[in-house]
Amino acid sequence: MNIKAHEICKTFGKRPILDGLTLEVISGETVVIIGPSGSGKSTFLRCLNGLQSIDSGTIQIGDHQLEASNGKRFSPFSSEIRKVQGMIFQDFNLFPHMSVLGNVTEAPARVLKHNQADARNLGLELLKKVGLESHANHYPSQLSGGQKQRVAIARALAMKPKVLLCDEVTSSLDPELKHEVLDVLEKLKDEGMTLLMVTHEIGFAKKAADKVVFLAEGKVVEEGPPQQILENPENSRIRTFISKLMS
């Protein structure tokens, strides 16, 4: 499923966050978005999923078109868009009152109206995929950060999305736990999932990204294959940014 964002603008109050951002993602690609804080990376992902409205520009996701809606938080088209896109958050946002399996089966059971047995089988299968089938009856508070994020991935996958939007999904994890999440994402990439990731994991970008996009002040500064952007960028800002990340 291709994604086309064209000339997207978004301001919070008077502060422009997205300032004519244009980006294209081809189905099956893994795109890593990097950039300094406040450059609009997270806002862009949230706009793609309709969690934030856009002031101007257009977003096309497969056949679905998202247009500027005046200040409405949840766009009326969002529900269709959300069915083809899953989103994973920095803070996991698991449902604390539900078991791990409950978290995963909630949406398929209630939104897709799967029957209980189907939803359960799907849930267990997905938990197995992220290596947590033995934790199905645990509650989120009993899990480590890495485990929580893997549950969040399984929960998103339960809706059979074509695209996964990953918003700094390893930023609140201890270094030794990051790889268990990144391994899962890499596996998904190998299965053909389109991944759009905001991250600071340069190593992962080098290894797995098809395209790296450098964002600053709400615009795409430079985009290209990881070797080009990460090792040999045209823009000196990128070099400074990356050297700071590596240090």
Binding site: F74, R82, P96, R110, V111, S141, R155, M159
Partner: protein, 494 residues
């Protein structure tokens, strides 16, 4: 310096004698001592007091005191004596010293003028569903209880007669003749049913240690009887009747010593106040308290949730309406609300010529009053709880394609309920204790039952401890139940 001492002595001698403090309840109603719109404080007892003051050559000051508390207040030494239609009876005589009587009272049954079903207490007892109104802690109440006639008690005669006339929640009022003369005689919609019965004495109550003062007052009362002043006061208040002749004769009491030797009740109460007698009554009151708590709290929850939703997600119009509700019901005393619902509504229905009766039963009025009041608190508790569920929960659910309603029901509400639970439990315990307010609308719950029993038996301490234990026996497990529920609702914390 030297000059000052004789000066002070002189001043002390010149000062008038210290006034005696007389306690009574002017809210009890006419004609004892009460507030008249034009004349201020009036009453036949006030007239007697003034005559006594003249006789004793000492000023007497009035002190407002709740009728129920006159005897405990007297024993505590809050005032010199109590005079407020105090009937002489055995329990009281064990605790306080009574003066010679100043009035011989009888009880008068009053019904609505169109009452066809009965015109005696016996007839009333045999009329199914008939309820007789009376006042707390009076001889009339004891007589009715002994006769096992269903009663409803009020803290003033005005309320009792008003309930009989306009609301029709009771079928008769049985009270002392003076009250009947003041209220029922001038009212065309009421009638005296049968002759007055059950004679007894009104006398002034003293602390047992105030024997000297009591003797002085006894002498003064004798003097008022002898010089005809007492008679003229009673005549002025339309209270003089053939009974009172005995009073002036005087010899009747002297023969047998103190007036307490004479008992004039038609149904003498010789039963001792033992635990097997009052415990069932207290348990009955407890059951009413439990029912009232459950019903009014259910109402509070059922109203509170939609109110909180209106406050959070309603249209601007709905939002301000819900806010208005919360501010109004949180801002007025629940006591005022109960009074309005019980006494105000029937009056409104009557004055506006509505055909429907708005006379709520005591239980319904209390449930409504407490429920409406607590709904305001619950609405705010729920609102705060719903708001404290992190925004990320909404977003996570939205990103899964869940709609607003589904998200609220499945994701937000369960978490909000868990957050609200400790506060809600607190409110439940508070409401449980607030049910005692319901006694103002003549509902006999646990606290009221305690007051009634304590007043008739004068066992304030023993009964108080038992009542407190009954309250604790319910509120403590309530707290435990809530903690268990909290655990159950938070399975991940197990």
């Amino acid at each position: 310096m030297l000059l000052q001492i004789p000066l002070m002595l002189l001043l002390a001698l010149a000062q008038p004698p210290t006034p005696l403090i007389w306690a009574a309840d002017e809210e009890g109603g006419a004609p004892y001592v009460y507030r008249d719109n034009k004349l201020g404080r009036v009453g036949f007892e006030l007239d007697i007091i003034n005559a006594l003051a003249e006789e004793l050559k000492r000023p007497i000051e009035f002190k407002q005191y709740a009728f129920d508390s006159l005897i405990p207040g007297l024993l505590k030494g809050d005032f010199d004596f109590a005079m407020n239609g105090l009937e002489i009876n055995e329990e009281r005589q064990e605790k306080i010293r009574f003066s010679k009587p100043y009035y011989i009272y009888r009880q008068q049954l009053v019904t609505r003028a169109d009452e066809k079903r009965f015109n005696t207490l016996l007839g009333c007892k045999n009329t199914l569903g008939a309820i007789v109104g009376t006042m707390d802690g009076t001889q009339a109440e004891r007589l009715l209880n002994q006769a096992k006639i269903p009663i409803r008690t009020y803290s003033s005669s005005t309320e009792a007669y008003a309930d009989l006339v306009s609301a029709g929640r009771i079928d008769a009022v049985f009270l002392d003749l003076p009250m009947a003369i003041s209220y029922a005689l001038p009212n065309k919609r009421l009638q005296f049913a049968g002759k007055p019965t059950a004679r007894g004495f009104y006398a002034i109550g003293f602390h047992p240690k105030s024997e000297t003062l009591a003797k002085e007052v006894d002498a003064a009362i004798d003097a008022l009887k002898a010089n005809g002043k007492l008679r003229s006061i009673l005549v002025k208040w339309n209270l003089w009747d053939e009974c009172q002749e005995e009073l002036s004769a005087g010899f009747l009491f002297e023969e047998e010593g103190r007036p307490d030797a004479i008992t004039h009740s038609i149904l003498e109460d010789n039963q001792a106040w033992t635990i097997d007698r009052y415990l069932p009554l207290l348990l009955e009151g407890t059951w009413v308290t439990i029912q009232l708590t459950l019903c009014s709290f259910t109402l509070a929850l059922v109203l509170g949730l939609p109110l909180s939703l209106a406050r959070l997600y309603g249209t601007p119009w709905l939002k301000s309406l819900a806010l208005l509700y919360v501010e109004f019901f949180r801002g007025i005393p629940v006591l005022l609300l109960l009074f309005f619902l019980y006494f105000g509504l029937p009056a409104i229905a009557e004055s506006s010529g509505l055909n429907i009766s708005l006379a709520l039963s005591p239980f319904i009025a209390a449930t409504l009053g407490l429920g409406l009041n607590y709904a305001a608190y619950e609405a705010e508790t729920f609102r705060a709880a719903i708001q404290s569920v992190p925004q990320g929960q909404w977003e996570a659910a939205a990103s899964l394609g869940m709609g607003k309603t589904l998200t609220f029901r499945r994701i937000i509400l369960p978490q909000a309920m868990r957050i609200a639970l400790p506060t809600t439990t607190n409110d439940l315990v508070a409401l449980f204790k607030d049910t005692s307010i319901a006694s103002v609308v003549a509902l006999v719950e646990l606290n009221k039952q305690y007051q009634i029993l304590a007043k008739s038996s004068l066992k304030f301490v023993e009964l108080g401890l038992i009542t407190a234990l009954l309250y604790l026996a319910l509120s403590v497990p309530l707290g435990r139940l809530a903690r268990a529920l909290e655990k159950k609702l938070a399975p991940e914390r197990r």
